[in-house]
Symmetry: C2
Subunit: 499 residues, 2 copies
Amino acid sequence: MLINKTYKRALRSVLGVLLVSVSWQTQALTCPQLTNVPLPPKCSSMDLESCNAAVQNIIPAAACAIFEVSPAANDATLVLRFTTLITNSWYDATAPFHPTAKGVYSDIARLPEPEDNRELNVALSYASHKVLSGLFPHLTPEWDSMLAEMGLDPHDLSEDTTTPIGIGNYAGRKVLEGRANDGMNQLGNEGGQLYHRLPYADYTDFKPANTAYKLRFPSKWQPAILMERPGVYRVQQFVTPQIALTRPYSYESPDEFTSPVPLKSKIWNYPSYVAQVNDVLNTSANLTDEQKMKAELFDMKIFSLGFAAVFASESQGLSLMDFIHYDFLTNMAAFDTAIAIWKEKRRHNSVRPFSAVRFIYKDEPVTAWGGVGKGTVNDLPASQWTSYLPVADHPEYPSASASFCAAHAETSRLFLPEGDVLGYTVPALAGSSQIEPGITPQNDLYLYFPTWTSFEEDCGNSRVWGGVHFEPSVPAGQAIGREIANRAYQFYLSKVAGQ
Amino acid sequence: MLINKTYKRALRSVLGVLLVSVSWQTQALTCPQLTNVPLPPKCSSMDLESCNAAVQNIIPAAACAIFEVSPAANDATLVLRFTTLITNSWYDATAPFHPTAKGVYSDIARLPEPEDNRELNVALSYASHKVLSGLFPHLTPEWDSMLAEMGLDPHDLSEDTTTPIGIGNYAGRKVLEGRANDGMNQLGNEGGQLYHRLPYADYTDFKPANTAYKLRFPSKWQPAILMERPGVYRVQQFVTPQIALTRPYSYESPDEFTSPVPLKSKIWNYPSYVAQVNDVLNTSANLTDEQKMKAELFDMKIFSLGFAAVFASESQGLSLMDFIHYDFLTNMAAFDTAIAIWKEKRRHNSVRPFSAVRFIYKDEPVTAWGGVGKGTVNDLPASQWTSYLPVADHPEYPSASASFCAAHAETSRLFLPEGDVLGYTVPALAGSSQIEPGITPQNDLYLYFPTWTSFEEDCGNSRVWGGVHFEPSVPAGQAIGREIANRAYQFYLSKVAGQ
């Protein structure tokens, strides 16, 4: 009973292994996050006059690339910079076709206002191709086929700004160049990094006050320990602290936006600190299915903010040009908000609920959510308390999500014809939870947002329900978001007026 | 030029998004690491008499699951526990068919020695099904089809130990149960964890002496900062320190295996510390293509140790029973080695080269490898020095890889008919590097290992070439690996003699 294998086969096997790296490089982009999403039909060469390439072609392709970098698309600073650069390129590439608008990074001679969407679609598609190729260079074949699917030649590199193709290429390149060294360290070259450059790496030397192992400073942020894979655990690092040094669009310096000191998170206000911890436990013990599903919805920015914007544009019948302006405005407002919020996060460097709960009650049993499918339990050692949402990798105060939703809602109120009216429903069918799949919600829910105000409020509160924020973080984030939204709107108005 | 989209479509989109979680759960297992590997044909119901289901069916399926947990299969402690439990179940499930052998976790009445491989293949396949279903329960459909492809019924749960199926099911269950609470914390329940259990999490409260941000203790291990995704960085945590408390197979306590104190890594031996750093830089500056490719080969344990074992078994014509004994012996020896090595890693808690290089030379320019495709450069700020291989998430001394290769080589010398003779060639074709794809090696290389001794030596040295170890780590690891290999062999001999 000898095994009949040959030396030759063993050799071939190992050869194959050593070649496999090559196949990794050329693997096609797949994004399971969009698998079951019934996307709109793509624009083709047949309907460029009437379709919306931004919504129908560019957003799905770009979302797929963003999911590769950020699987839940909740690395907000990175995602917002991607979406802002992409929508900026749409705005700049279509500005020459607008009666008065001027690009942010280019000033192209005005062309006649087009009869239909064709020129706009062509210009914004080439601009997107340039920006996406710059942001995700390893996916160049994807961006080429994105154009080819519309009958557009990805190898047409013309920068003749009397044609839509040339305008797109030129405007896209200018956005990319204008933003390459904006402070986000896209190229990994900041801080004198000559070799071993790492994209978007921190060059500001942020060091957490606490280790993941000991809360020496109970008012300060502590990085959490995350399960990377079963058995492999890693400690958080403050994500992109350098965005606080990044160039905003709509104001000079983030120093003009401040938030009150989060006094209840200060350990020297001991009774308030404990009361705040008790609020967290109380919320955790009384979590409803609706709160869980809203927490999950607003944790996924593309699916909450992004889809709400597309919904509002469509239900309010925005023209393609108006959609572009609206989408650039909302993304730019949120991006500029992130700059100020991160500056404040670094300044306050404030403790997250999980650290405070464990610090106050140690191994004492508490009543709280007990984990996937466990519901509320009353014998949870406080040292094992865990938030419903996974906790993000930045200090607690102010809430970034609350600020983004507020900026988004405020720009929507300012820009959209129907103002605060939204009328948006998100079905959350039984068992559709990502955190408790098959279990939550118990019954079909329909999350209804009649107004942008209700959307903004639920978004902010959902961070408290999710257990990742204390309550004062929400209004603090919202105030900055709304203030900057108004700046962003003024900036937009000046640009659209040709200034 | 209104956009003709309907409210209904927007609703459907969001619905789809909320359903997508379900599609994630049921996604089929894919492993790009095996895409181009020409695997042996699978055993089918037609050739169970003559094939080797362990090599042809179980290893490829299990490797795929292991790659999911450990994409480069270099999380050695976790991978070794998987492979040891799987091969243990083969050994235990075939012991009743051996003239004298007794299982480690079961003692089944002896059956007549079989005429061909059928009974052995059936028994080991059902045993594997049990163990794999326990280790990777979310992949149950994979394990079911693994059996079905051989014409075996995955729903046959018989434990009738007079039949191969019953023996397989019973022996597999006993291995799983015998190891469930062996100290590795597979279930996440160690340390009184009632809720939010995390598999294989540390329950021994290991805290690194240094933070990732400051080398306060220059002799001690410092966790490295890793790029998780562009823009998202994480800090290492010592992987599975609890394996030092895990029950070995072949000895009582790891305390009997010790290594000399790594004196050159002690900052109070300043001249030696600097000399050791200079050795690292010198190696980095003079890296050859052959060294790079050997470093990569031995960094992937499945492709180096695993494939060499299969090659040796096949080229030396081992019977199926002998292959099972050999594969269990080599894996168990390496697993028992890991227990002692991790105990020593924790005790010495010793600094890695990257920390020491940066500590000694700060921002001074040094001559060293400059990164992918850069070759050797002479203006690299020492603070930016990076090893060729990514540095693993555990203290430096002794070298775990050197110890595993030594254990593997020693058990091979003890067990195999040809002793130290190996004669193994691994082609490393031009550009096939995983770290410098398309660039390294410049020309086709054939890495040749005439003996297990040469394999063991190159493996150990490759950790120094890769820049992740100082030289004294290699003999320290090898000594423990060889010593434990002899214990493992004695344990094996006693089991095979029915003791």
